[in-house]
Symmetry: C2
Subunit: 247 residues, 2 copies
Amino acid sequence: MSRGDRLLDLLEHLRGVEATTVEQIASELGVSPRTIHRDIGALRERGHPISGDAGPGGGVRYDGARGVTAVHLTLSEVVTVWLSARLSSAASDLPWSGAASSALSKMLASLPQTRARDLRALCRRVIVGPPSSPSISATAGRAPPELLRLFEQAFSVGTGLGFHYRDREGRETVRRVEPHGLLVHSPVWYVLARDIDKDEPRTFRMDRISRPRLLDDVQFRPSREVIESILCNDNRWKPLIGSWDRS
Amino acid sequence: MSRGDRLLDLLEHLRGVEATTVEQIASELGVSPRTIHRDIGALRERGHPISGDAGPGGGVRYDGARGVTAVHLTLSEVVTVWLSARLSSAASDLPWSGAASSALSKMLASLPQTRARDLRALCRRVIVGPPSSPSISATAGRAPPELLRLFEQAFSVGTGLGFHYRDREGRETVRRVEPHGLLVHSPVWYVLARDIDKDEPRTFRMDRISRPRLLDDVQFRPSREVIESILCNDNRWKPLIGSWDRS
DNA sequence: ACATTGATGACAGAATTTGTCAGGGTTACG
DNA sequence: CGTAACCCTGACAAATTCTGTCATCAATGT
């Protein structure tokens, strides 16, 4: 194992472990303690907060909040975690809700700036409503992951979305819309959008959408007015007004 | 700059940038393009999802930049996120619950093995029950973060836990217990434990625990029998039996 | 005091790294 | 179709670096 590898290993190891002695690390990585000291010194010079305690019972540890380093989460995963945290802390008043929100802000903080802005914007477009009767059929409202990705892309770039929609009576129509927001009204998900052809704000249940695709030739600017008009015109969602854009 | 430093720099650089060419990186880091290719190869071998596109306009990029990478989460945050995901997917049947669980497993996968095992064991000991009436006073059941850390430590090492407990009538007693599990019965949290002095399985509400401390001289082996006996003997929690150890 | 553990310096031999040269692929574009 | 811009990989010798050993000093708990 080369030094570069060992440094990365050492970093992961220190971050995940409570505390260890240099000698222990050395035997685990198969090098001499002196080398570990040198490596730790290198990491320190790079700004990593590694501290060491002398004396029996001492050892070295990574001062940063010790815990888990989450590597490479996808967009769907971040949004889901974010939604889960919001939903459960709102609905059941979990302890440690502060921990959840700090976890989320850490995730957002670690993003590239442009990316973080997009994600924040996406999150702001997702409205969490109170759960309705929880005993609706289990498969209702399921949203396939690719639909979220498509929505996210459409939303951040400002591209229209086209899909086939099956309405309450089972009639299938082809729609072209500007997606402006998502509404989570568990267990049913809705797309809040402006229907381009009818020029009207409308909501579409996600489980009735099929064959979605991006409309590259349709451009629009996301606006909250469409969402507000939908929320205000439909009595079902009046209670949500005012809550849709909090954090 | 040595190779180890450069690898760490390269990783941070790739994570923060949308896409670049190898040549550009090489000139920024002051080495030859061949070296950068070698470094990228090394990072790939370590499992980093770096992809490259050939052709004009191509370049290399860190695939994780599309989401979140290298977030450092504390123990409380991980457990909270994990609980949130379980709670919300169980209670309101969220779409993308698969994404949440894959996020969690990625987090766990990035841990050192011993640490991951501990955390998994901890998560298995946390039982999620259906939320009771949601309108209990908002501060009931809050668990201070340090209590979780203490519990986690006690549980993973197999050390007893001592604390002061205020029972329903307000009487304060000193307890010594073996903690075997946590029960989340929103919004109230319970410690499922065996009372050492009385030699009886018992539950303790977290918000009635004060001045917790580890009992270094008391060792025990975590067992699910204690938890099962508690769940079976108390009619309130009969519905939970069978669900307490799923993933 | 004493054992344990961290931190640092010096040095020679060993191992790795680096740049150069060379080739083989893909992809976009005119 | 050919060219240019890219990524990817192999080989090799020189130069750099890394590593282990030995030694010393400081801090801490028993």
